[in-house]
Structures are given as structure tokens and as C-alpha cells.
């Protein structure tokens, strides 16, 4: 075996591409940098934050982005420069200078990044301590997550809702708990996210700074309906918030007063158990689309399974949803533990409600 006749035969191949590749690399590098800068300046990475905590995070993000940009430019700059400057001449078969290291340089690029990183860490710690500072006058909201909907309970006001209303400029202290699997509560515009666990209460703090309506998103995979597990947060003036609370309290007291009214009780259950998240039902104001629409359901309930009465079928459809699947809808999508979650009396009320609508 001689040293390398083959190599040089083929070695001429890469040489051919030296110049072209370099040109292509330079052109693409320049285009990418310009495009990146234009895009970055015209379209800032983060949209506007509407929470004090979010603004603090944004500042930290900006700082980190600045440092990252410097590192990025240094590394890519050296890389591009080397590509431009140190390409070998086509007929040059000699080696480069045998430099094996430089202790001062190596210490320099170990220590400087370490100091930078400690600085970022320190700033992060400060921001973290800042955004998780509970305040005395905070409004407490108990957040409940289940497959695939959110529910918000205001313990001081005794109000339950499927949308989150909060007053502007007042800290909100959220106590969160899941009914089934892990969810995660996120308001992108407020930058705050926290997992909602089934075995413990987790806490998060948000303070809205601008009125408006913003999406609440579930960010922890929670099953087939994960993508549609959404709600909204409505930041409103203190007066508007109070008015909303009052209106909810009236509705609630009506519902309570009409406990004898099975329809009102059923409607309440329909919404508080999360049925509204997936099933549309005009009477309950529900518009969910994951499961079959329930308007006009009472007319067909008795016909679905031969030999089952409408009551039997409805009960089974709630507690054993896979027993009969309406055509066009997937099996296993609906949680199968409603039989455990809803008491027997409440199940009766729910069945009565669903069949009671004409």
C-alpha cells in the first residue's frame, strides 16, 4: 500500500470547489446577516407586554439578547473571516503553522464567558425575586384546569367563570390546580407561565398594565384537545371589573335561588364541569367544537343505541363516552372519568338538563 495515489486523484476534486464554495458562503453569509438585521429591527422579537412582570422579563430578555448578539457576531465574524482569509491556494499542499495552544488566550476565553454568564445569572435572579413578590392587596383567583378547559373561581367574591377577568394595575395571585393531567397556564402577552398540577397547588402572580383581551394558552401537552384548550384573560378597569363581578353574582344567585329549577342547576353543571369546552349548546352559551353539538340532542338521544332509553344513553355517554361514538368524532377524546368526578346527584341533574331542552 503506497501512501496516497488515490487521494490526489480525488484530491483535485475538492480543490475545484474551493473558490466557488467560498463565494457562495460569503454571499449567503452577507444576505443572511442583512436579512436578519432588517427583519429583527422591523419585527421586534417580543410583542408588547401588558403586565409589570412581563416588562421586567422583557428587559432581562433584551439584556440577554444584547449579550448573545455580541457573542454571535464575534463567533460568526471570526468564522466568516477565516473562510474568506484562510482558504488555501489551489496548488498549496503545505501545512499551516503548528500552533498548539496559548494558555493566556485559553484562560481569557474561559474566564470572560464565565463572568458574563454570572452577570446574566445575577440579573435573572434579581428579576425572578422581583416578579414573584406577593402583595397584600392581591386579588386571589383559583384556577382550575381540566381536559380541555379552564375555570376561574374568585373565592372572595364567590364567582365562577370560564374566562378570566382581572382589574388593571392590581396584582393577581393565582392558585392553580388541575383536575386530571398536568396543564400549563400561559398568557403570552403577560409572559407568565406556570404548570397546573393535579397533586399540588401551584402559584403565579400577574399584574395587568393595559386593558384589553388576551389569550390564555395551555402549554403542557394534556391530550387530544391540547391545541384548543384556550380561554381569554380580560384586563379591565377596576369599575368594569366590579361591574362584571356583580353581574356574575346575580347570575350565580339566580342559579342558587333556583336550585329547585333543575334546568338552571344543570346549566351550571354543564359549564363548571367543562362540557362547554368541547360541546356547543346555545342554552349554556357554549360554542366548543371538539365533540358533537348538543342543540337538538334531546330529540335523538333515545335513538342512538337500540334498547337504551334516552336517560340510560345520556348517562352512559357522560360516564362511558367510548361506549357509543357519534359518527365523525374520534374515540378516546372525551375524558373517561366523569363518573368519578361528578357526584351521582349531579349526574342526574346533568342528564335531566340535557334531555329537558326542546
Amino acid at each position: 500500500m503506497s501512501q496516497a495515489p488515490g487521494p490526489e486523484a480525488s484530491g483535485s476534486q475538492p480543490v475545484m470547489f474551493d473558490t466557488t464554495s467560498r463565494l457562495v458562503a460569503i454571499v449567503i453569509g452577507v444576505v443572511a446577516v442583512v436579512a436578519g438585521l432588517v427583519l429583527g429591527i422591523n419585527n421586534p422579537f417580543l410583542n408588547r407586554s401588558v403586565a409589570t412582570e412581563g416588562s421586567a422579563i422583557d428587559q432581562l430578555f433584551g439584556l440577554t439578547l444584547g449579550i448573545a448578539t455580541v457573542v454571535f457576531v464575534i463567533v460568526q465574524g471570526f468564522l466568516l473571516y477565516s473562510i474568506v482569509r484562510f482558504g488555501r491556494q489551489p496548488d498549496d499542499d503545505t501545512d499551516g503553522p503548528p500552533i498548539r495552544g496559548n494558555h493566556k488566550l485559553e484562560i481569557f476565553w474561559t474566564v470572560i464567558p464565565a463572568l458574563t454568564i454570572f452577570f446574566v445569572g445575577f440579573m435573572s435572579y434579581q428579576v425572578l425575586a422581583d416578579i414573584e413578590q406577593p402583595q397584600d392587596d392581591a386579588l386571589v383567583v383559583e384556577v382550575k384546569g381540566f381536559q380541555f378547559a379552564w375555570q376561574f373561581y374568585y373565592p372572595e367574591q364567590d364567582v365562577t367563570s370560564t374566562e378570566m377577568h382581572i382589574p388593571v394595575d392590581r396584582q393577581v395571585h393565582m392558585k392553580m390546580r388541575s383536575n386530571d393531567v398536568i396543564h400549563s397556564f400561559w398568557v403570552p402577552e403577560m409572559r407568565i407561565k406556570k404548570d397546573v398540577m393535579p397533586d399540588r397547588v401551584t402559584e403565579a402572580f400577574i399584574t395587568g398594565t393595559e386593558t384589553g383581551t388576551y389569550p390564555i394558552v395551555c402549554t403542557e401537552l394534556c391530550g387530544a384537545g391540547h391545541a384548543v384548550m384556550r380561554s381569554q384573560i380580560i384586563i379591565q378597569s377596576d369599575a368594569d371589573f366590579k361591574a362584571w363581578i356583580a353581574s356574575q353574582q346575580t347570575t350565580a344567585s339566580q342559579a342558587a335561588g333556583a336550585a329547585a329549577d333543575p334546568m338552571a342547576a344543570g346549566r351550571q353543571l354543564f359549564n363548571s364541569s367543562g362540557c362547554n369546552a368541547c360541546h356547543a349548546l346555545a342554552d349554556a352559551g357554549a360554542v366548543g367544537a371538539l365533540g358533537p353539538e348538543l342543540d337538538g340532542y334531546s330529540a335523538v338521544a333515545g335513538t342512538r343505541v337500540p334498547g337504551q332509553s334516552a336517560e340510560q344513553y345520556t348517562l352512559e355517554a357522560v360516564v362511558k363516552p367510548n361506549a357509543f361514538i357519534v359518527e365523525g368524532f374520534p374515540a378516546n377524546l372525551m375524558p373517561q372519568d366523569y363518573g368519578l368526578r361528578i357526584s351521582e346527584q349531579d349526574l342526574d341533574k346533568l342528564v335531566t338538563y340535557l334531555l329537558g331542552m326542546k
Binding site: Q3, P97, T110
Partner: protein, 536 residues
């Protein structure tokens, strides 16, 4: 390849293609078995990725519903991590490392074969899990969700056990091989950096994988026997899974990228004709990553219900790990600085690796900062970050290594023209796919969703187009491999005029690698100092 030794059902060496389907103890055969199998799974995983991007090209659910989509990305992630990147690196290292050490095989050849053949039942089970359905709680399989899904989830977990055992035996084998079996004169400070990277990788495998195995056993028992480890209704602890899972799976990120670091450290000196800059620091930083990598896992749980105070130490460790990584990057830049760069496809992939990995590394610092992580955790920002690390890092490095060692493995050169086409399509497609995802995440798009806010349509469409380009870029590579295997120019023992013992034997090497045991008188980076060693 001349003689094929045979003993019982055990074979050593390959004479025909059939030998690649046997329980073969030759590390070269096993390396090829690993790589080919891994590439098949790369293609399957890639097809799943195309389905995902097709679904996401426009808002709303077009092709698949929520369940099917969940299954798609679960299997995509699992295949890419456990059946592509990890085995592909192990395969290439299996081929190269014993050659670099001047040995005729790994320390335990039969254990080596067992490692490979354990992947096969694992793969069959994983595909069955996909067919049966139910593995749809992500590759992270967080309970309680993973306790409620169907049979496929159990098969998924059992499949990963096979992969885990395969990994453990492989890691053990590499450690013993590199420490105990070095050529005459090869002191630890002359061990190639690829081998050092495999030491660090194997340390992680050996100490991390058993914990994943333990966690998977708990999950399997919970699903089959009804134990209540993670069940919240019975008082179990869902967070325990996350701790155990990430105790392995964060270090696993380094399992997937350290061998790449090693390959880059071999490729850069060879094509810039300079010794590696800061050999010792590169080797030490690999080991530092290997150990420190174990103390950062909870940064995946900053928004979970874990104790808030615990986040601080984990934030600090997670940030510190950027330092040894940075040291490597700077050392590589210093290696090419002042060199005589020869722009082969292998070198271009290596340079692209540095460029892309820096982006992934920097976005990692954002994720390590608790307040920023609170915003971006579980969003497309994380998806972008992990693909910059695992594709822009691992896969690009792997391509670099393949272009570098293909002549050694097959005896023939890959076509450079097709290589360049592959490189540029790959690089452009990759960035088009994943760069926009940073913005998507920051603006409010969560990960693992089949449907999204119509406001995100534009960037998603760009990403989907990029993904198609990226998929297409694999085609010139495949054509190149198939054509070059038959018609490529003959490579000869050392086509790159590189140092390293693997280049002192013929291409492909004979069955026992070296006619006479090689002797080493320096490290494998003597560019500009010594004449290139000649094949004996």
C-alpha cells in the same frame, strides 16, 4: 475482506452483504449495521416530521386530528433521538474509535454485537407501538397523561428499555476499550479527541441511562400492575417522573452532541492543516460537560410545581455549562485561524456546525435564565432551540464525520459536487425551518399543537417550506452514497493526508485492522510538525 471467522452462530467480519444481518462481532460490521439502521429511522422520523409540518402549514386541523398529531410528534421525537442520533453516533464511533486506538476490535466484541441486536427488538416494539396507537404523550411521556393513554404507551416504554440496555452495554464497552486498549505509546494525552469525546459520552450513558430505565420500570409497573408512583388520585408524585426522566434526558442531550464535538475536533485540523488548538482544554471540557451535565436537569422544570428555591442552583449550573461549551467553540475557531482551509464538504459541514451550534447554545442561555424560561418554556422557542442543537449540532456534525470517514469505511470517495449540493440545500432548508420558530415561540405559539392562532400562519408556512427543502436535501446525499459505493474514485489509505492511526491502514481496513500493531510517537494532530504517517 479475506477471512470470515466463525464460531457457533457468532461471525466475525463481513464477506458478503448477508454477513451484515448476522450476530457479527467485528466492530466495523457493527458500526455499519448501526449506521444503516439509524439512517432508515432518520428517514422514517423525517417523513413523520414532514407530516407534522404539512399539518402546520396552515392553521386549523387539515390532515390529522389532535390524537393522531400527538402520536406523530411523539414517535418523531422518540425515533430521532433514540433510533437515529444516538445509534448513528455510536455506530460511527464503533467503526472509528478502535481504529484510532490502533486496536483490532472493541474490548468486548460479543457484548458489542449484543448492544446492536438489542436495538432491533426495541425498534420492532416501537414501530408496533406506533401501529397500535397510544404512544401520544410526547417523547417526555409525562404522567398522569401517559397513564391514561392506550397500549402503545406501554410498548413505547418497553422499547426504550431495550434501547437503554443497548446504550449501557455500548457505553461500558467504549470506556473499557479507550482506557484499556490503546496502541503502544498512546498515553492518555495522545488519545484522539474523538475517543475523549466518547469517554465523556460513555460516562453519561453509564450513569444516566439506568435512571431512565428505573423511571420507565416505574411507568411500566404503573400501567400494568397498577402501582401508584405517579398517579395523583392515589397520592403519587407526578413530578417524580419529571425529575427522574430529566436526570437522564438532559445529560442525554450531551450524549447526542459530545460525539459530534469529537468528530469536529478531528475534521477541523485535517482540513485546515493545523494541530488542534488547546487539546487538553478540549478534552477536559468534554469531561466537565459529562459530569456537570448531570447537575442541570431541573431547568426543564422551572415552570413546573417544583420548589421555587431549587430553581436558583439549577439556573446557575445550567448557565455554567455554557462555559466549557464556549471553550470548545473558541478552540475550534483558533484551530482554523491561520490555517490552509480546504473546503471539502466535510469541512463545510464542520464550519456550519460551529455556526449553527452557537445559535443553539445561545438560545440555551435564554432557557437557563428562570424568568425568560417562564415565558418561553414549552413554546416553539424551545422547539427551535432543541433543533438547532440536535440538528444544527448533532446531525450536521454527523454529516461532517460521514463525509470524512466514508472513504475509510468504503474505500471510495464521495462525490464532492453532490456533497456541495447536499450541504447548501441542507443548511438553507434547516435555517428556513427553524429560525422562524424562535419568533413563533416568543410571540405565543405553544409547542405540540396541531392547530394555532391564524396570526402565526406566515412564519409557519415559511417553516413548512423550509422543512420540505430540508427533507429534499437528503436525496442528493443518498444518491451520492449509492453511486459512490460503486463508482466513487478509489480513496487509498489516506485521501485527506490526515494524521490518526485509522489513516495508516488500508481503506477499508482488513479484518483485523492492522497487519502489525501500530506504535504511536505523538498525538494525532501533528500537522506542520511531522510528516504524515504512511500506511504500512
Amino acid at each position: 475482506m479475506v477471512d470470515t471467522a466463525r464460531r457457533g452462530f457468532v461471525r466475525h467480519g463481513a464477506r458478503t452483504w448477508r454477513d451484515y444481518f448476522t450476530f457479527n462481532t467485528d466492530h466495523k460490521v457493527i458500526g455499519i449495521q448501526y449506521m444503516v439502521m439509524a439512517f432508515v429511522f432518520f428517514i422514517i422520523g423525517g417523513i413523520l416530521a414532514m407530516l407534522i409540518r404539512a399539518e402546520l402549514a396552515a392553521p386549523g386541523m387539515q390532515f390529522v386530528g389532535g390524537k393522531a398529531y400527538n402520536q406523530l410528534f411523539t414517535i418523531h421525537g422518540t425515533l430521532m433521538i433514540f433510533f437515529w442520533i444516538i445509534p448513528a453516533f455510536i455506530g460511527l464511533a464503533n467503526y472509528v474509535v478502535p481504529l484510532q486506538l490502533g486496536q483490532e476490535d472493541m474490548a468486548f466484541p460479543r457484548l458489542n454485537a449484543l448492544s446492536f441486536w438489542l436495538v432491533v427488538p426495541g425498534a420492532i416494539l416501537m414501530l408496533t407501538a406506533f401501529a397500535v396507537g397510544g404512544a401520544e404523550s410526547g417523547w417526555t411521556a409525562y404522567p398522569p397523561l401517559s397513564l391514561t393513554t392506550h397500549t402503545g404507551q406501554t410498548l413505547w416504554a418497553i422499547s426504550l428499555q431495550f434501547i437503554g440496555f443497548s446504550s449501557i452495554f455500548g457505553g461500558l464497552n467504549f470506556l473499557v476499550t479507550i482506557f484499556n486498549m490503546r496502541a503502544r505509546g498512546m498515553s492518555l494525552s495522545r488519545v484522539p479527541l474523538m475517543a475523549w469525546a466518547m469517554v465523556a459520552t460513555s460516562i453519561i450513558i453509564v450513569m444516566g441511562t439506568p435512571v431512565l430505565s428505573g423511571a420507565l420500570f416505574l411507568l411500566i409497573f404503573s400501567r400494568i400492575l397498577g402501582t401508584n408512583f405517579f398517579s395523583s388520585t392515589a397520592g403519587g408524585d407526578p413530578l417524580m417522573w419529571q425529575n427522574l426522566f430529566w436526570f437522564y434526558s438532559h445529560p442525554a442531550v450531551y450524549i447526542m452532541v459530545l460525539p459530534g464535538f469529537g468528530m469536529i475536533s478531528e475534521v477541523l485540523p485535517a482540513f485546515s492543516r493545523k494541530p488542534i488548538f488547546g487539546y487538553k482544554l478540549i478534552a477536559v471540557s468534554s469531561l466537565a460537560i459529562g459530569i456537570f451535565g448531570f447537575l442541570v436537569w431541573a431547568h426543564h422544570m422551572f415552570t413546573s410545581g417544583m420548589d421555587p428555591l431549587l430553581r436558583i442552583p439549577f439556573m446557575i449550573t445550567s448557565m455554567i455549562i455554557a462555559v466549557p461549551t464556549g471553550v470548545k467553540i473558541f478552540s475550534w475557531l483558533a484551530t482554523i485561524w491561520g490555517g490552509k482551509l480546504r473546503f471539502t464538504t466535510s469541512l463545510m459541514f464542520a464550519l456550519a456546525f460551529i455556526s449553527m451550534f452557537v445559535i443553539g447554545g445561545l438560545s440555551g442561555v435564554f432557557l437557563a435564565s428562570v424568568p425568560i424560561d417562564i415565558h418561553v418554556q414549552d413554546t416553539y422557542f424551545v422547539v427551535a432551540h432543541l433543533h438547532y442543537v440536535l440538528f444544527g449540532g448533532s446531525v450536521v456534525a454527523l454529516y461532517s464525520g460521514i463525509y470524512y470517514w466514508f472513504p475509510k469505511i468504503t474505500g471510495r470517495m464521495l462525490n464532492e459536487r453532490l456533497g456541495q449540493v447536499h450541504f447548501w440545500l441542507n443548511l438553507i432548508g434547516f435555517n428556513l425551518t427553524f429560525l422562524p420558530q424562535h419568533t413563533l415561540g416568543l410571540d405565543g405559539m405553544p409547542r405540540r399543537v396541531a392547530d394555532y392562532d391564524p396570526a402565526f400562519t406566515g412564519l409557519n408556512l415559511v417553516s413548512s417550506i423550509g422543512a420540505m427543502l430540508l427533507a429534499f436535501s437528503t436525496l442528493p446525499f443518498l444518491i451520492n452514497v449509492v453511486v459512490s459505493l460503486r463508482r466513487g474514485a478509489l480513496a487509498g489509505p489516506n485521501p485527506w493526508r490526515a494524521f490518526g492511526l485509522e489513516w495508516t491502514t488500508s481503506s477499508p481496513p482488513p479484518i483485523h485492522n492492522f497487519p502489525t500493531p501500530p506504535v504511536v510517537d505523538g498525538d494525532p494532530y501533528g500537522y506542520g510538525e511531522r510528516p504524515v504517517p504512511v500506511a504500512s
